[in-house]
């Protein structure tokens, strides 16, 4: 049954991808990409990767699609016809694909429990991590503790993206007299619902942030969800009012602070005599040390991701000509 669902989803993905190749309407292309992301999130769920699915849904289908739509609003929505010969790309792709298929022929069979990857490193994560790290969610244990350095790198990647977007677009503040016109001011219904929903979203973000040790979730997803709440706010009430709530400067500091918080935990553990990011030494008892470490670094990730996603949105939003929406 699981295989059947898998197959149907994969077929839908293939159709979506093919459709995207031939469509010229970029708006449709971007929406189909959002669908592609959602479908792959579903596949991740059916392949037991709940944390990944959560992230893919919030990032791929959420943030990426929003940013792409924002770009389209500024660059126009149809792709022009072109006389490019598509032969060379096709050859490259066929050769690469053939190489990959050749590579799959020796792969360990899909889903078999005795594949090398289930027998070497991973068993320790599965068997020992609840004892060594003390968390039921193994993904969080591996992410935050065993491979904590990767996660720090990931936080820094997000931070670098913010630096890139800020240097490219900057956040332009609008003059005061323009501010009254921006946003969906006329939409009474939207205002009421947004006011109702935004606290719920933020509450949910906090839940995801601090429940990530026990269920799917963690700093990254929480950061994106919290950013989504503020994005909704600035869509409905206009960027100037959003700037008044969280100003771009504050976001800069927050983004930097999150990275420093993460690296700071590593430095503290170095000062306490352990290796970098060794949480065991943070408290008298290694398990509680791991707990402290993971909670703090997840908080660092959450803060940075929230700040970065929101400033990226600000950067795109402040570019847009808002005169067409009223």
């Amino acid at each position: 049954m699981a295989e059947f669902i898998d197959l149907v989803l994969l077929a839908m993905l293939a159709i979506t991808a093919l459709r995207i190749i031939f469509l010229k309407d970029l708006f449709a292309v971007v929406m189909l990409f959002g669908i592609y992301s959602f479908l792959s999130a579903l596949i991740f769920v059916s392949l037991d990767a709940v944390d990944v699915a959560f992230t893919e849904a919030s990032v791929g289908a959420g943030i990426s699609t929003v940013l792409m739509l924002g770009t389209l609003a500024l660059t126009g929505r149809t792709e022009k016809e072109n006389q490019h010969s598509s032969l060379l790309p096709l050859v490259v792709v066929v050769v690469t694909g053939a190489a990959l298929i050749y590579g799959t022929l020796d792969m360990p069979p899909f889903g078999a429990a005795d594949n090398p990857i289930h027998e070497h490193v991973a068993p320790r994560y599965i068997e020992e991590s609840p004892k060594e790290v003390g968390l039921p969610n193994m993904v969080t244990s591996v992410l935050a503790s065993y491979r904590g350095f990767d996660t720090m790198g990931e936080t820094v990647v997000v931070f670098s993206a913010a630096i890139g977007v800020l240097s490219l677009l900057g956040v332009r503040r609008r003059k005061e007299n323009e501010s009254a016109e921006s946003g969906l001011m006329e939409h009474r219904v939207l205002h009421v619902i947004a006011k109702l929903v935004i606290p719920m979203i933020i509450l949910f973000a906090l839940y995801v942030q601090f429940h990530g040790d026990f269920g799917p979730g963690g700093g990254f997803q929480a950061g994106v969800i919290a950013a989504a709440a503020f994005i909704l706010y600035s869509l409905v009430f206009g960027l100037p009012r959003a700037f008044a709530v969280v100003s771009p400067t504050v976001l800069r500091y927050l983004a930097a602070f999150g990275v420093l918080l993460y690296a700071g935990v590593g430095v503290v553990s170095m000062l306490k005599g352990g290796h970098f990011l060794d949480y065991n030494v943070l408290a008298a008892n290694p398990i509680s040390g791991q707990h402290y470490g993971i909670i703090i670094i997840e908080l660092g990730v959450g803060i940075t991701v929230f700040a970065v996603m929101l400033s990226i949105f600000y950067a795109f939003g402040s570019q847009a000509e808002r005169s067409d929406i009223k």
């Binding site: 037991d48 990767a49 792409m68 022009k80 990959l100 594949n115 193994m138 977007v165």
Partner: protein, 118 residues
């Protein structure tokens, strides 16, 4: 037949990857290129997640009475990779916005003609 059952998942994923890759290298519109890049990457993520699956296993969150879990390591790697992907997308898209402002177009062959070579 056994072969097909073992590998069908990987083959479709390879097909998806290659459609993304094709969009990246053949598209003329920059936004579409970025979409292609995302599809390419998302499909690579599927490759990783597929290898982590254990038939009959459950999500790697400790539950009483379950002994067979899927492999958590690919999940962790892909969480990181997704973030890297969105970071690249954001930077790429802001470049597109700037290119539009500087050249007035986001079609590759059009702005190529507007400058001298190199």
């Amino acid at each position: 037949m056994n072969h097909v059952l073992d590998y069908y998942n990987y083959w479709i994923v390879v097909f998806l990857m290659m459609s993304g890759f094709y969009i990246v290298i053949s598209a003329n519109n920059l936004v579409k290129k970025i979409v292609g890049l995302n599809i390419f990457q998302t499909s690579v993520f599927m490759l990783y997640i597929s290898m982590g699956k254990v038939s009959g296993g459950t999500a790697p969150i400790v539950v009483e009475g379950v002994t067979q879990y899927s492999n958590p390591l690919p999940h962790v790697l892909i969480l990181t990779a997704i973030v890297v992907g969105v970071a690249t997308t954001a930077v790429g898209l802001s470049l597109i916005v700037r290119i539009k402002r500087a050249y007035g177009t986001v079609e590759e062959n059009e702005f190529e003609n507007k400058d001298d070579a190199i």
